[in-house]
């Protein structure tokens, strides 16, 4: 057994990759601004410096631990250097904290406080402000960037895209897009992971809270809300509740008291997705065309396919995402039932996702020229609104969602976690293949959190080859394997964010922590188990909606309201072909 010394205490080595990991294991919270356990090591912030006897001062994050090392982490010289590194970062940082939407969740702010930086020796150069890019739903303020490179690495390594990189050199170095393009013109898929991981306010999600308040306070508008599955197990974190605790009932109470007239559950539309997507899948299995089928719930994945793998667009399920299905049902059918015009209803989605903001603005998702979903706000934004309204969230009573889009099954709820869509489809697929009732609804083969997993399931006389992907870099690997013939699948589920929607960039900022994501996922599986129905095909409210408006899965009526088409994007990521029927 090998060990080393940290501040005079012996610490046993157990395969840690860096001195940083060992020091943190010893209970010392060594500060970092550019280190993330799921990304490669960058070593730029210099805050994790430690002193190793015989070696001097090194950055702990990229120093491998060795037996017998004698490490100190808190000497006078280290404290002085650490403070100076922070002061130098602050000298180039726009410190308008009170009006920064990252305030309170900013690592640089936290560390400045922790290291007692009360006055700055290095004066800021105010005349050199760089322009803010507001072209996309992700806002980029280079004046707040500290060049930690986490956005560069998460976009390149996890999503396989690489929208940003370091450009120019020395004092002029900035993180930028190619040719300094606006983000809206790049191949950014709006997953927002760069903003979630950014330690400062250099990358933030465009706040739309004011638009939400404006609609809620407008007496001429009927505000209809939908809440995505993953929101219920994470929003509590903003109110000191543990991750994974389901707070759907409190959420609905809060939204009602804020002025929402109806609150629906997006999981209802997920149940419909299961019926439509499974129908489509078996049709493709029969015809042998466009196999494998890819899921289409994730708007970041859809845009990625449109720009990078247009040859696979025909393989995507033509199903709209649950958000857009519910928006469409509300504007096309439910409005009539209420005796209202689509424009009199204002639909707000509460989403764990930032790409949903982009998805809602796509031209194909409209009814009589009105967007099906008028506004998307993230889990974080809603938490902010609840705080602004002064609502004591944790002690709210629970309220059930409204009908007719309120009854949901466990299959719809687990859409929020990677593997959930596959499992929900299998719960129906099994019964279709065997014509028998499925007793044990858990398909542990598709559960888990690794980025790319696959399995073969034999149901009766049929073998289904499934792949479940999270992180678009893994999707790229899978697509290349398909192209080269190295792999064959029947059904592929793709979610852009690590862990699926529970790890979406709209979630509370603790997102970047793998453990928190797993607890949220466990919360969804618990909700699934605890609910009265676990199979989408047994959702009585869904069956009623088909009876009333859609006839049966795959019908012309269902296609009109619930399906879509995909179009290739050009080199500037713009769609050039017109919408079908809109020449």
């Amino acid at each position: 057994m090998s060990w080393l010394m940290v501040n005079g205490q012996s610490v046993v080595l157990n395969g840690e990759k860096s001195v940083l990991d060992v020091v943190r294991k010893a209970g010392i919270d060594l500060p970092t601004l550019c280190y993330h356990p799921e990304l490669t090591i960058h070593g730029a912030c210099r805050l994790c410096m430690v002193e190793i006897e015989g070696r001097g001062i090194v950055a702990a994050c990229h120093t491998p631990p060795e037996a017998g090392m004698v490490i100190s982490t808190n000497s006078a010289v280290l404290r002085r250097l650490r403070k100076m590194a922070l002061e130098l970062l602050l000298s180039r940082h726009d410190r308008e904290c009170t009006s920064c939407s990252r305030s309170g969740h900013c690592s640089l702010q936290d560390l400045s406080y922790r290291f007692g930086i009360t006055d700055l020796r290095f004066k800021q150069e105010h005349d050199k402000q760089l322009p803010i890019d507001r072209s996309s739903i992700i806002l980029r303020d280079p004046n707040k960037c500290i060049l930690c490179g986490e956005c560069v690495r998460i976009c390149g390594e996890i999503q396989g895209i690489g929208v940003y990189d370091f450009v120019h050199r020395g004092a002029k170095m900035v993180v930028d897009t190619a040719f300094g393009q606006h983000l809206a013109e790049t191949d950014c898929v709006h997953c927002g992971q760069c903003a979630a991981i950014c330690p400062t306010g250099a990358l933030v999600i465009k706040p739309q809270i004011n638009e939400a308040w404006a609609a809620l306070n407008d007496p001429t508008k009927t505000v209809i809300i939908q809440i995505a599955p993953a929101v219920r197990v994470s929003i509590g974190e903003e109110f000191n509740l543990p991750p994974g605790q389901s707070t759907m009932g409190q959420l609905i109470s809060a939204l009602r008291s804020m002025g929402a007239s109806k609150v629906f559950d997006t999981s209802f539309a997920a149940d419909i997705t299961v019926l439509e997507e499974t129908k489509e899948f078996f049709q493709r299995v029969e015809s042998g065309e466009n196999m494998p089928q890819f899921t289409s719930c994730c708007p970041a994945w859809v845009k990625y396919a449109e720009q990078s793998y247009p040859e696979y667009l025909s393989h995507l399920s033509s199903c709209r995402s649950p958000q857009q299905m519910l928006g469409s049902l509300v504007k096309k059918h439910y409005a009539k039932e209420l005796g209202k015009k689509p424009e009199e209803l204002f639909m707000i989605s509460i989403m764990p996702c930032t790409a949903k903001k982009f998805e809602a603005s796509r031209e194909e998702f409209t009814t009589s020229g009105v967007p099906d979903v008028d506004l998307v706000i993230t889990t974080q934004e809603l938490a902010h609104m609840i705080k602004e309204a002064g609502i004591d969230f944790a002690s709210l009573p629970t309220t059930p969602p409204d009908q007719p889009f309120g009854f949901v099954t466990g299959a719809g709820v687990i859409f929020g976690v990677t593997g959930g869509v596959s499992e929900a489809v299998l719960r129906l697929g099994y019964e279709l293949i065997t014509e028998q009732e499925l007793e044990d609804v858990v398909f542990s083969e598709v559960r888990g959190y690794s980025g790319l997993r696959s399995c073969e399931l034999t149901i009766k006389d049929r073998t289904l080859r499934l792949a479940v992907v999270n992180g678009l870099a893994n999707a790229k690997t899978l697509l290349e394997d398909l192209k080269s013939g190295k792999a064959q699948y029947d059904l592929v589920e793709v979610m852009a964010c690590p862990g699926g929607c529970i790890g979406g960039a709209g979630q509370p900022i603790t997102n970047v922590n793998r453990q928190v994501r797993h607890e949220r996922g466990a919360g969804l599986y618990l909700d699934d188990k605890a609910g009265p129905v676990q199979k989408s095909q047994q959702n009585p409210a869904v069956l009623e909606v088909y009876q009333k408006w859609l006839k049966e899965p795959g019908s012309a009526e269902a296609h009109e309201a619930l399906h879509t088409t995909y179009r290739e994007r050009d080199a500037r990521c713009k769609i050039t072909q017109p919408l079908p029927g809109k020449v």
Partner: protein, 170 residues
């Protein structure tokens, strides 16, 4: 002298040229810098279309290719003039009066507002850190031809000659 039309013609990127460079240098990411050098040599700058093509061929993100292109001073993303005049501003040249020479050149070719290339794309004027010819300080190069012990007067004469005869060993 029809220099202007020559340059306009050469800014359209020739896909055959890019393809031949890629054939010669390969498409490993390590080939990026030699590829950029070959393109810069041909067009005297790195046209955006060429960078897009290279990023696709090498499987690198466009931002990464752009990052490398902006890191090195040898690369330019804007078309350079027919005559690239580099004024050495290393220590020896600086002490022996390189800045008055630099100012004289800018005035002579009518460069204003911090621009480095003239509007007719005839001249690009820039400073470099050290050309390694300190014994000849102050040193100026025009398209890699070296002119030593420059003065404001001498460089004006050289430019006059250029305009009449073109660069001699071009």
């Amino acid at each position: 002298m029809n220099t202007v039309t020559e340059i306009v013609e050469s800014t359209a990127v020739d896909p055959n040229f890019i393809a031949s460079v890629l054939r010669e240098m390969g498409t490993e990411s390590a080939a990026l810098i030699p590829i950029l050098q070959a393109i810069q040599e041909r067009y005297r700058y790195l046209p955006e279309e060429a960078l897009v093509e290279i990023s696709r061929a090498l499987g690198l993100s466009m931002a990464t290719v752009y990052g490398v292109a902006t890191f090195y001073a040898q690369f330019s993303l804007e078309p350079k003039g027919k005559y690239v005049i580099k004024v050495c501003d290393g220590t020896a040249c600086h002490v022996r009066g390189s800045l008055p020479v630099y100012d004289a050149i800018r005035r002579k070719v009518n460069l204003v507002d911090g621009r480095s290339t003239t509007e007719d794309k005839l001249y690009t004027v820039e400073t470099v850190s050290c050309l390694g010819a300190c014994g000849l300080a102050p040193v100026v190069t025009i398209n890699d031809k070296v002119y030593g012990q420059m003065t404001a007067e001498a460089i004006r004469l050289i430019i006059d000659t250029l305009e009449q005869e073109g660069i001699t060993d071009d």
